[in-house]
């Protein structure tokens, strides 16, 4: 109607244009269909390969079988076998079948992202070729199946870690102990305090050593005076047997005691050297120190009692010759 004048103007080459368009369409369409058929391997000779798996999840028809990252075959069919195992029928073009040998291993892997992959690994390319229609088991690896297991073990590891590092954990307690020891090491008592457990004990040990030193020096004085006294006594009172005898005994005892004290003080010197050198055997030193302290105390008590005895037996000049312990 309205388009009638136009129709006449273009009427000449109308069929040609329509034919051109339809011809182009047919050529493209048929060409594409042939291309798809060729791409799908319809015109290609293939050989069959059946892969047997306990689970064909993620496998789809048309999926590639890859070798060294290159697709060499395609899944043609998936079915459940009589034994309850999945049978994956793969068609491999003959030109690509040379990569598949008798020793070839097939794997079916599922990643977190994407579909499953079937891969072939051939270790020895000189091996005998895989026959048409061969049936092979497929090894399966599934990342999504691994995840729950991994999470479970990770959780127990984290729990252990938390137990160790928590406020009541053993690691925390150990660190607390280390801190106390280092504080003591840095404190007044130094290694001794760290070894003995407290500053007070360390002070006592140091005091005992000081006392022992003082005692030693006084003992030297006492021994000299005693020698002098004995000389006098020898001169003056040699005849008086009772006094001389008693004094002689006392002096013998004193000498023996002084020997003991000297031994003890040698021990003190040794331990002092150990302690002051901040050696690693601080603990052993502390054990020795307590034993030594007891020894020193015992020696001092013995000396004390001896001096008391001397004072008691000393008949002359009481005020001058009074022997005092430090």
């Amino acid at each position: 109607m309205a388009a009638a004048p136009d129709d006449k103007a273009i009427a000449k080459n109308l069929p040609f244009r329509a034919g051109l368009l339809l011809g182009l369409t047919v050529i493209i369409g048929v060409g594409f269909v042939l291309y798809v058929l060729w791409a799908r391997g319809v015109f290609e000779a293939t050989q069959r390969l059946t892969l047997v798996s306990d689970n064909a999840e993620g496998v789809s028809i048309g999926m590639d079988l890859t070798f060294s990252g290159f697709p060499i075959g395609r899944v043609y069919r998936i079915e459940l076998g009589d034994d309850g195992r999945a049978r994956i029928d793969v068609r491999v073009p003959l030109k690509d079948a040379r990569w598949l040998k008798k020793s070839t291993i097939f794997t079916l892997e599922r990643g977190i992202v994407g579909s499953a992959r079937i891969r072939a690994f051939t270790g020895n390319l000189q091996d005998e070729s895989l026959a048409d229609g061969a049936e092979r088991p497929v090894l399966r690896g599934d990342t999504s199946e691994e995840i729950p297991r991994m999470v479970a073990s990770l959780r127990s590891v984290l729990q252990n870690l938390e137990d160790m590092t928590g406020s009541t954990g053993s690691l925390q307690a150990s660190l607390g102990n280390v801190k106390t020891v280092t504080e003591r090491l840095a404190g007044k008592g130094g290694v001794l305090a760290a070894a003995l457990g407290s500053d007070e004990d360390a002070k006592k040990v140091l005091l005992a050593i000081d006392h022992a030193n003082t005692l030693l020096s006084r003992m030297g004085g006492v021994a000299q005076r005693l020698d002098g006294v004995l000389a006098k006594a020898d001169d003056r009172l040699f005849g008086n047997g009772g006094v001389v005898d008693g004094t002689q005994r006392a002096v013998d005892q004193a000498n023996a005691l002084l020997g003991e004290v000297r031994e003890s003080l040698k021990g003190v010197d040794r331990i002092l050297a150990d302690a002051q050198a901040v050696s690693g055997n601080a603990k052993a030193a502390s054990r020795d120190l307590s034993a030594l302290r007891a020894e020193v105390d015992a020696s001092l008590r013995k000396v004390n009692s001896l001096i008391d005895e001397i004072n008691r037996k000393w008949p002359f000049n009481k005020g001058e010759t009074q022997i005092r312990l430090p």
């Binding site: 109607m1 388009a3 129709d7 329509a18 291309y35 791409a39 048309g62």
Partner: protein
């Protein structure tokens, strides 16, 4: 008071679909009859192809190429960014080539030629031209309508094939550049997506789109009466039903493919 009007409306709606279905059956029967194919009907068909496909071709080709390029670039780049470039081509094929382009083509042809056909038939009906034809012993169905339906189906198929071919080429270039070495992986992707069933479904869907694009407007145009004012209403009803039908076909196709 409203209810009888609604009921009448609903009845008219069903009647309209009934007309369309009856017309489709009659047209299919006529298309199978040999006497439908004469020089006169061929001339009608050729003219319809010219108006529907040839005139539309340059503009629509450019439009669909730009749209395709956009979708392809977005898909390929996004897939690369996420490390999923293996799936980019499959996505382009499935979304663009198999769904968007056929549906877009059918929609454009429906808006352009469907409305024109509907109006033309309504005016032929109103002006008594169809009656005159029948009086001369010419069946308007065979002479005017079936050639248009066939021509529309061919036009939609042609436009779809050409735009899809352009999209396939653009997808190759976007993915691999102009290098010939992408051909093997590209072929593998094509083989993976276009199975025989998918191809058959694609062809069937395109043909259905083409038939519906002409068939529903003609059936709607025949509903017009001698009053010229009934023509716009007929055209409106044709377009509503046509777009609804296209959507239903697309949904059914998707459901069959992916559900």
């Amino acid at each position: 008071m409203d209810t009888p009007e609604h009921a009448a409306h609903a009845i008219r709606w069903f009647e309209a679909w009934g007309h369309a279905a009856r017309f489709a059956l009659a047209a299919a029967a006529a298309a199978l009859s040999r006497e439908t194919y004469s020089a006169a009907t061929r001339a009608v068909a050729v003219r319809q192809i010219y108006f529907t496909a040839w005139q539309l071709l340059p503009g629509f080709t450019v439009f669909s190429a730009v749209l395709s390029l956009l979708v392809i670039q977005i898909t390929v780049n996004a897939a690369r960014a996420y490390g999923l470039s293996d799936y980019a081509l499959e996505l382009v094929f499935r979304v663009l080539v198999l769904e968007l382009l056929p549906f877009g083509t059918a929609l454009i042809v429906a808006l352009r030629s469907g409305s024109a056909i509907s109006a033309e038939v309504a005016l032929m009906h109103a002006s008594g031209e169809l009656e005159a034809m029948r009086a001369q012993g010419i069946d308007p169905l065979k002479r005017e309508f079936v050639p248009r339906v066939v021509a529309c189906a061919l036009s939609v198929a042609a436009l779809t094939v050409i735009t899809c071919a352009i999209a396939l080429v653009l997808a190759y270039i976007a993915m691999y550049g102009v290098s010939p070495w992408g051909f093997a992986p590209y072929t593998r992707e094509v083989a993976g997506v276009f199975s025989i069933a998918i191809l058959a479904g694609f062809i069937l869907k395109s043909m259905t789109f083409g038939v519906v694009v002409a068939g529903i407007p003609i059936a709607a145009g025949l509903e017009a009466n001698a009053n010229l004012k009934s023509a716009p209403i007929a055209v409106m009803g044709a377009m509503v039903r046509l777009i609804l039908a296209l959507a239903v076909i697309e949904f059914v196709s998707l459901a069959v493919k992916y559900a």
